[in-house]
């Protein structure tokens, strides 16, 4: 960890780089930046800086390198894993003023944008060309593209259109030493190591993103959605496999359980059958002819898979309403519980029955209800644990329960995070997902970019010491099977 820095000296040096109004250091000015979307964790940084030019970011990072001050980069602060949680001994670097769309090439279908541009704003800016940017995290109205790259964000359409890593072509980043690097290029691939992939999802640990070139897709001619109800969650899971086995890759394939259906229906009146144990939303897109054909096939498959009700949205309004319920599922659950904790594990879909069963047992054991929302097509679970932070000890119990769910995902061959990132939230579960040799390799990767360990230190990759403590705790309870999984 860096040596404590003289705050007054740091502020005066920052004010030399930036106008005074762009260097926040009074407590009341820092308060809005104390957390990101994971509000259970809060810290006040030494200062918040708001540069608006690449040269300023370079100068700030050079200064931090010289003074050995940790830096946490922040986009819109919508992340759910505490990746943008400030550090008390560091500065918070906000990219909020980098909000220009620099260039749109409607022929090559690429847009070059600054990192503070909102995800949805890209699609809006290119709409008149008949184009859009595919990854659509549920926070897309607020989250920014820089944060999307840092977290490798997904969304409901990833099964067909991929994650952020599949939809970007070039990045400009600033290293901790203040050097501007261009990664990728105007073509589809570049020579050398795939630094574009390495940077994507690196959670601000390797560099600060100052420009992103995203790939744009033509808007499909037609999109249609089917709502299917099931009296059994497992049957709904099997239906997903049946659709994919038939050679169909839906644009979106989402599942909700009873508690989530009820909450969403009460909130937005999406027309969901509240007596169902599960619903599936299956969206198909493409040419009008193709969609018409696939809608027929999928309707048949759903009925054969035991759906109690299959409804095709009768028009565009109903399609949007069906989706509205799904997209509002998180806030809807927020209405029925004082607090909720959103998990983000992935599993091979075939293990869904076992994972659901174990999760129900854990829910009973911890006496905390769970509402389940899944990106079913790609096996990404979002269990929402309902709790009340005002009851002493309940948050801790919730976190422990959440940790168990993630360990369950690892046990069946899945991952502790599909799209929300590790941040500070899942750092202990990294010790379950990776062994000490792998974690050491991750630290070596970080060191290749950031020798002094100043970029977002303490996030994403745990120290071996931390894992030893975490592991010891679990061995004590006798509950963690094989922390050092042999993977051959």
């Amino acid at each position: 960890m860096a040596i404590p820095v003289d705050k007054t000296h740091l502020i005066s040096r920052l004010q030399y780089i930036l106008p005074a109004a762009s260097v926040l250091h009074q407590k009341e000015d820092l308060r809005p930046y104390e957390c990101d979307g994971l509000s259970a964790y809060r810290n006040l940084p030494l200062a918040v800086v708001l540069p608006e030019k690449t040269e300023q970011v370079q100068a700030i990072l050079k200064l931090c390198f010289e003074l050995e001050v940790p830096v946490v980069a922040r986009g819109a602060g919508t992340g759910l894993s505490g990746g943008a949680l400030p550090l008390p001994n560091g500065i918070l670097l906000s990219l909020a003023k980098f909000k220009d769309i620099i260039d749109i090439d409607p022929v090559q279908c690429v847009a070059r944008v600054q990192p503070g541009v909102r995800n949805l704003a890209i699609s809006q800016a290119v709409e008149h060309y008949g184009l859009y940017y595919a990854p659509d995290p549920s926070s897309q109205i607020a989250c920014t593209i820089g944060g999307n790259v840092a977290e490798n964000s997904g969304g409901v359409h990833c099964l067909k259109y991929g994650l952020t890593v599949h939809n970007i072509q070039q990045l400009k980043i600033i290293t901790i030493e203040g050097e501007l690097l261009t990664i990728g290029g105007s073509g589809l691939d570049s020579a050398g190591y795939d630094l574009l992939a390495l940077m994507t999802g690196s959670e601000g640990m390797l560099g600060v993103i100052v420009e992103v070139s995203v790939k744009l897709l033509p808007k499909p001619e037609s999109a249609q959605v089917i709502l299917a109800a099931f009296d059994d969650l497992i049957k709904a899971g099997e239906a997903v496999g049946n659709i994919i086995s038939a050679g169909i890759i839906p644009a979106g394939l989402e599942m909700m359980d009873k508690l989530a259906i009820k909450a969403a229906e009460d909130f937005v009146h999406a027309g969901y059958p509240t007596d169902a144990a599960a619903i599936l939303l299956c969206e198909l897109d493409g040419s009008a002819a193709e969609v018409a054909e696939y809608i027929n096939t999928v309707q048949k498959l759903l009925t054969e898979s035991g759906a109690t009700q299959v409804r095709v949205a009768k028009d565009e309004d109903e399609r949007i309403t069906f989706w509205k319920g799904r997209k509002a599922a998180f806030p809807a659950v927020g209405r029925i519980s004082p607090d909720y904790y959103c998990m983000d594990g992935t599993i091979p879909r075939k293990h869904l029955p076992q994972v659901l069963k174990n999760m129900a047992e854990l829910s009973a054991k911890y006496n905390l209800p769970v509402a389940n929302v899944f990106h079913a097509g790609d096996g990404n679970l979002h269990p929402l644990i309902l709790y009340d932070a005002n009851i002493p000890g309940e948050l801790e119990r919730t976190e422990e329960f959440g940790g168990k769910i993630l360990e369950l995902c690892v046990e069946v061959g899945g991952s502790i995070t599909g799209e929300h990132g590790i941040g500070i939230e899942k750092i202990n579960q990294m010790c379950v997902q990776f062994n000490s040799v792998e974690l050491t390799q991750f630290h070596a990767i970080k060191k290749a970019f950031d020798e002094k360990g100043l970029l977002n230190p303490g996030k994403a990759v745990p120290t071996l010491h931390r894992c030893a403590e975490f592991g010891a705790m679990h061995v004590h309870h006798g509950e963690l099977p094989h922390p050092e999984l042999e993977r051959f």
Binding site: V165, L181, G286, K350, N380, G414, Q433, V437, A444
Partner: protein, 353 residues
């Protein structure tokens, strides 16, 4: 055939690490012409073979590095699925490991994604003989740095790939290829327009004043796209693209240096002498030419593109497009992070790595 020789490979790498002796990683040796040549002891991965798991409903296959592409493709086709990045096989012995190490993709790449886009996870042995597992068999996984995609295109220099998990996709219901006589300007204009119209274009090639476009999808979408595009339907659609990706057609029968140019798809034709062939809507251009490496690279750099000397090098020019000093520094440090003694395919990618 299925055989796990990972322990033997690990032992050989450990010896090399202890003795600081370089290793040349090789499986099918179908890409022997590619990259800088290496003078080192052979690490033969070819026996490390077999499909470890394949779950058609999960859209995931996991196979050992020495598994032949043809074996993987055969297994997938039995469940009506495919490797959507359409990897080339420069000979029958082409393997999965080499394909991933070189990030080789074929005609469908511009419309479906590259090899790296389909990698879900891998097991590797790094230059310290440590066995490491990155990623997994699930579609979405953002735990830790994306070290599995980092192996794609690293030419073995960061680790010996043991096995790889890939996302697979269903075969299209139907495919056909249409050809048009036109000049390059018209070809460029047409292909961009058809892609933007969401027509199910899955491959394109312009050569000898002829544009070839493959359509893939269900019957109704391919039929309606065919009516929009028009042109002549060619008789052997799959044969045409297979010959192209495996570089068996006349264009590739050349002794001249063969350059692989990566650039913006809508870039104007380049002012370079030689014979050219366009793929990927123009984002990939092959050039067989006697122009100097410097001239070719300067031309590409001016438009933010890159040039790889793919076959027949006739000078000591770098094979891969030179890196900027800052990016090269990161490469050096990453190489050191994975392979501190520089024993894995040293110099294969860049002479100093």
């Amino acid at each position: 055939m299925s055989k796990d020789i990972s322990q033997s490979l690990q032992a050989q790498i450990f010896d090399a690490y202890e003795n600081k002796t370089a290793l040349k990683i090789q499986a099918g040796n179908s890409k022997h012409f590619y990259g800088n040549s290496i003078n080192a002891n052979l690490l033969d991965v070819s026996e490390h073979q077999g499909i470890i798991s394949y779950e058609p409903t999960e859209l995931v296959i996991t196979a050992r590095a020495g598994t032949r592409l043809s074996d993987i493709e055969k297994t997938l086709s039995e469940s009506n699925q495919m490797l959507a990045f359409e990897p080339p096989a420069f000979s029958e012995s082409a393997t999965l490991g080499g394909t991933i190490a070189g990030n080789f993709s074929g005609p469908r790449r511009a419309y479906a994604g590259a090899a790296r886009d389909f990698v879900l996870g891998c097991n590797i042995i790094n230059g310290k003989a440590e066995a490491l597992s990155f990623g997994g068999q699930v579609m979405k996984n953002v735990a830790g740095y994306d070290a599995s995609r980092l192996m794609c295109g690293a030419m073995g220099g960061l680790g010996v790939i043991l096995d790889v998990s890939l996302k697979v996709l269903p075969n299209p219901e139907t495919e056909l290829t249409l050809s048009h006589q036109c000049d390059i300007h018209q070809a460029q204009k047409n292909i961009h327009q058809w892609v933007k119209q969401s027509l199910p274009v899955s491959a394109s090639c312009f050569y000898n004043r002829q544009l070839f476009v493959r359509l893939s999808g269900n019957h109704s979408s391919v039929t309606s796209a065919k009516n929009i595009i028009g042109g002549e339907s060619i008789s052997s659609s799959s044969g045409f693209w297979k010959k192209l990706k495996n570089q068996q057609n006349d264009f590739f029968k050349t002794d001249k240096p063969l350059w692989r140019l990566s650039l913006a798809s809508n870039s104007a034709p380049l002012d370079l002498s030689g014979e050219g062939l366009y793929e990927w809507s123009g984002a990939l251009r092959w050039l067989s030419s006697d122009e100097s490496a410097d001239k070719i690279r300067q031309t590409l750099e001016a438009i933010n593109g890159q040039a790889t000397l793919f076959r027949n090098p006739q000078s000591d020019a770098e094979i891969f497009h030179p890196l900027s000093p800052g990016i090269l520094k990161v490469h050096r440090q990453l190489k050191k992070a994975f392979d501190p003694e520089n024993i894995l395919n040293p110099g294969n990618l860049y002479k100093e790595l």
